[in-house]
Structures are given as C-alpha cells and as structure tokens.
C-alpha cells in the first residue's frame, strides 16, 4: 500500500509540476511545513515506542491475557492495546501467536481494537490538532467501543 501511495503521489506531483512549477514549489513548501510542524512529536513517539517495546514483549503480553483470563483479561488486553503502539505488521502476527499460545478471541479482539483506535502515547499529538477535551473523549469512546468489538468477536469467532 505504501507503493500505491508512492505511485499516486508521484503521478500527481509530476502532473502538478508540468502544469505549474510555481504552485508545485508551494506544494513542497506546504508538505515540508506540515511535516516539520509535527516532527518533534513524531520523534518523541518513536523513542517512547522503542523503550516500551523493549519492556513489553510478546511473552509478557501473553502472560497477561492468557486463556482463562476472562473479562479481567479483556480489560487488561484493552489497557495493553491502548498504551502500546505497535505497527500492524508486527501486531497481527503477535496477536496470532498469542491466540496459539492460548489467549482467547475476546481478549485478542480487545487488544487489536484498542491497539488501533486508542492512542495514549499519541495523545499529545492528537491534542495539538483536536484539543485535549476532544482527544480525551475520542479515546475514551474508542476504548469503551473496543469492549463491544471484543464481545462480538468472542461471540462470532470464539463461539462464546
């Protein structure tokens, strides 16, 4: 998908360049400005993620949300998913491994859902654009919603 975005960006950028060079210069300036505006936050996030991932590895997570962890396991899974920020292509295989290791579908559902929808680490970045209050509301709602997701996944996939 990154390839698709590169192709789309390259084609449109070339088009822009041939149509109006001055405007294309503006495109680059805007792109850079938008990027630089948020770069310090990006850098802090990836440093924090590095430390966190070094501390919370798959073994630790599978201990927390194992087979018979029940609703407490779902809550813990949701909390772990909220505070961690793992790229999808690591997160999904990890989740699959956790399932194999005996974690329940409901727990994995909660983990995957909050992982993607709730961002504790990215809170300052989100608040920069949406304000603290709205960011708090959005994350709380996404957190609560993840329990519904977990329950339905447990029902449909896990045969609860």
């Amino acid at each position: 998908m990154a390839e698709f975005l590169y192709i789309a960006a390259a084609v449109l950028f070339a088009l822009s360049f041939f149509k109006d060079r001055k405007k294309t210069g503006m495109v680059l300036k805007k792109a850079w400005k938008a990027f630089e505006h948020i770069l310090p936050e990006f850098l802090v996030i990836i440093l924090l993620v590095g430390v966190m991932m070094a501390l919370i590895n798959p073994e630790v997570i599978s201990k927390i949300i194992g087979v018979d962890s029940g609703w407490l396991g779902v809550v813990l899974a949701a909390v772990v998913g909220s505070i961690t920020l793992i790229p999808g292509f690591i997160a999904f295989p990890t989740a699959a491994m956790l399932l194999e290791g005996g974690a329940g579908y409901m727990q994995i559902g909660a983990f995957v859902s909050t992982l993607m929808m709730v961002g504790v680490i990215t809170f300052p970045v989100e608040a920069k654009y949406f304000g603290k209050k709205l960011t708090l509301y959005r994350n709380l709602m996404a957190f609560a919603f993840s329990f519904l997701v977990a329950y339905i996944i447990g029902l449909v996939v896990g045969g609860l």
Binding site: A2, V27, A34, F92
Partner: protein, 178 residues
C-alpha cells in the same frame, strides 16, 4: 536557534532517557534503540507520499470542491468519502492528524473529519489484508463490520458533544498550521 531548541527539547530529553535506560539495562536499551531505528525507517518510508499528497491537496483542490464533497450538507457522500480516504491510507494514526488539519482548512465537515480519523485508525485496507492473513477472515471481517458503524457513531457523538465555537477554534488553529 533558541526556538529550535525549545521545540525539540522533549526529543533531546527522550534521547537522554533512552541513553540512561541503556546504561541501566544494556540489553533492553539496545533493543529499544533497535526498535526506534526500525520505527524511524518505517516513518521515513511511509510518510513522504502522505505529506506530498497533503501538499497537493492543499494547493490544488479548491475549498469549494472539498466543501461540496465533504462539507456541511455533503450527507452520505461525505461520510463514504471520509471512510474511503481514511481506509486508503497507510502508516500510523499520527500521520492522519496533519491531513485532518488540511481538511479543516478546506472546510470539511467536522464529523466527516472524525470519521476519516476513525477509518484511518482501524479500517485501513492494507492492515485489513494483513489481519485476514494473520487472524483469519472471520476475525477481520467481523471486526470491520462492527467498526464501520462504530466509527460513524463515535464521530457523530463527538461532533454533537463539542460546542460549535470550540470547533471553530480548532479550524482557526488549523489555518495557522499550514
């Protein structure tokens, strides 16, 4: 220079923190540095086209066009577009916020921006395919089907909860960013 130092103060503190962490626990520290380098590579790979597209959108697409398709009164069309644009994205959620700022500038309806953020967070197509491969189609499709209405409901609730003047303030704030 002083402004630069002030803006990047947290970055320097975080680097110092990782350094200290590595001194205390060499193995975990090196692991952290490795993962950070990996994330940095990921960021450097995924973000450039997103920001170029953001720049192109900002410069070339007139506000009226964006308002027509995604602004107040765009109805279902705006919602569907918000979901499609968010789902076509790649990269971490924090990449979505600068795009949201340009949307605000272009007069996209607030609830549609929130739907876009929701879609980016959880219904991204590349991630969906990956989820199918790792956790099975049943898991991924169930989650997707619950998520789509969920994202819309959350967005509408949030838009209703936040007072109009607060939203206007956010839009003005976005204006200054680009």
């Amino acid at each position: 220079m002083k402004k630069f130092l002030k803006r990047y103060l947290m970055v320097f503190l975080a680097i110092a923190g990782v350094g200290l962490f590595t001194l205390l626990n060499r193995e975990a520290g090196l692991r952290a540095i490795n993962i950070t380098a990996y994330s940095f590579k990921e960021m450097a790979l995924v973000l450039p086209p997103i920001f170029i597209l953001l720049g192109l959108l900002d410069v070339w697409v007139p506000r009226e066009t964006m308002v027509r398709y995604m602004g107040e009164g765009s109805g279902l069309k705006g919602i569907v577009l918000a979901i499609l644009l968010g789902s076509a994205a790649a990269g971490p959620l924090y990449g979505a916020f600068p795009v949201a700022a340009v949307f605000m500038k272009k007069g996209v309806k607030f609830s549609n921006i929130l739907i876009f953020i929701g879609a980016w967070s959880t219904t991204k197509i590349p991630m969906f395919l990956f989820e199918v491969a790792s956790l099975g189609a049943k898991f991924a499709v169930t989650r997707l089907l619950v998520d789509i209405p969920g994202i819309i409901i959350i967005a509408l609730l949030l838009a209703a909860l936040i007072p109009k003047d607060k939203v206007r303030q956010l839009y003005e704030n976005a204006e200054k960013m680009n």
